[in-house]
């Protein structure tokens, strides 16, 4: 649910990074934070455990520029990926405008990816959303590791509808902005459809 303010000429959109524990959601936001000009970003807020696992969410507000005289702001959130934080994930999805699914490319995490994608669909459905109708991008992360599943296999399992996907190494930034840009573009085009 984006927020269009004609008074301050701003538009706010919410993008959520979803995916299994340790897949690299927080790392995506940290990289974006590091590489964005100070005047285009707010604080990166991380509600995390002592071992740096996301406890509730990470939050990064970005104001990248104007479109037709409107300041466009993206509010990026990550969910906590660990299975037992299910209730928190539901809360963070509220009012989402676009979703990035970060998959962990390691073969042994395939089961966790599938479970997380299922969880995403169920949580969206509870709020009356359908993943198929939402701006949605898939990121195959950790492509630098030796034990990764082939892309074709990952896509056939996690991306049967053939939506846009990106290979990434969030730690070094490969694919991070490409992913963000793709989902942001879909969100803005969705607004165009509605208004």
């Amino acid at each position: 649910m984006s927020f269009i303010n004609y008074s301050s000429r701003e538009i706010n959109c919410k993008i959520v990074y979803y995916g299994p524990g340790l897949c690299g959601k927080t790392t995506n936001l940290q990289y974006i934070y590091r590489k964005t000009n100070p005047d285009q970003k707010g604080k990166l807020i991380s509600l995390a455990t002592e071992t740096e696992r996301t406890l509730f969410f990470d939050f990064l507000p970005l104001a990248l520029g104007d479109i037709r005289g409107f300041r466009v702001r993206f509010h990026l959130y990550t969910v906590p990926g660990q299975v037992f934080y299910a209730a928190s994930r539901k809360l963070i999805l509220k009012g989402v405008d676009g979703v990035v699914f970060v998959a962990d490319s390691q073969i042994e995490r395939m089961e966790a990816n599938i479970e997380s994608l299922e969880d995403l669909k169920i949580n969206l459905a509870e709020q009356g959303y359908e993943l198929e109708k939402l701006p949605f991008t898939v990121q195959h992360n950790k492509r630098d590791l030796p034990n990764v599943a082939p892309l074709e296999e990952m896509n056939s399992i996690l991306n049967p509808n053939g939506i846009p996907f990106f290979e990434a190494v969030a730690m070094t930034g490969r694919g991070v902005f490409e992913t963000l840009k793709n989902v942001a573009k879909q969100v803005l085009l969705e607004l165009k459809k509605h208004y």
Binding site: M1, S2, F3, I4, N5, Y6, S7, S8, I11, N12, K14, G42, K43, I45, L47, F56, F57, F59, P61, L64, G65, I67, R68, G69, F70, V72, H75, A87, S88, K90, L91, I92, K94, G95, Q127, G128, Y129, F177, K181, A184, K185, L188, L189, L191, K192, H194, Y195
Partner: protein
């Protein structure tokens, strides 16, 4: 989409702002914020200079969402008021018409009783304004009047320019 996007025009914004200014004064508060349930700041009153309003909005919404989750576990619909007491400043958070969150920060120059009382009155006025905003949005959508919106014309190029 499941919900209507929140669209705010000058006219309603001015009325909301007036309500906040009034409440700010009458409650003797330091700062007030109005935040939507998704964590986006709608308006504020008082001295916000030393406050990261964007972060505050997001964390407040997270806080309300988490307590709302707890409420449902306990079979409550929602806890409509939260209060946090600090050494100097206190924070009073309330839900307005199930939709927006009103945050009042105050110190010893005011009191919880006063804040409660004034918030209650302001809530009624704000609820009316937000009701009008949603009916207006629905009406305009039905009439297809939103065509002149800036987004009708967004081009790929506009979007690419954001990511230079």
């Amino acid at each position: 989409m499941a919900e209507f996007d929140l669209v705010m025009y000058e006219e309603e914004f001015t009325r909301i702002d007036e309500e906040l200014q009034k409440l700010h004064q009458q409650a003797n508060a330091k700062v007030l914020f109005l935040v939507d349930k998704n964590g986006q700041l709608i308006a504020s009153a008082g001295d916000t200079h030393n406050i990261d309003t964007t972060a505050l909005a997001s964390l407040t919404a997270g806080n309300i969402a988490a307590t709302g989750g707890i409420a449902r576990l306990l079979g409550e619909r929602e806890f409509t008021i939260l209060f946090h007491e600090g050494e100097k400043d206190n924070i009073h958070i309330s839900l307005i018409g199930q939709r927006v969150i009103l945050v009042v920060i105050f110190d010893q120059r005011s009191s919880l009783g006063l804040v409660r009382l004034r918030v209650k009155k302001a809530s009624e006025a704000l609820t009316r304004i937000f009701d009008e905003i949603s009916s207006k949005a629905e009406k305009e959508k039905a009439e297809g009047r939103l065509e002149e919106s800036p987004f009708a014309e967004i081009s790929d190029e506009d979007i690419d320019n954001l990511f230079r």
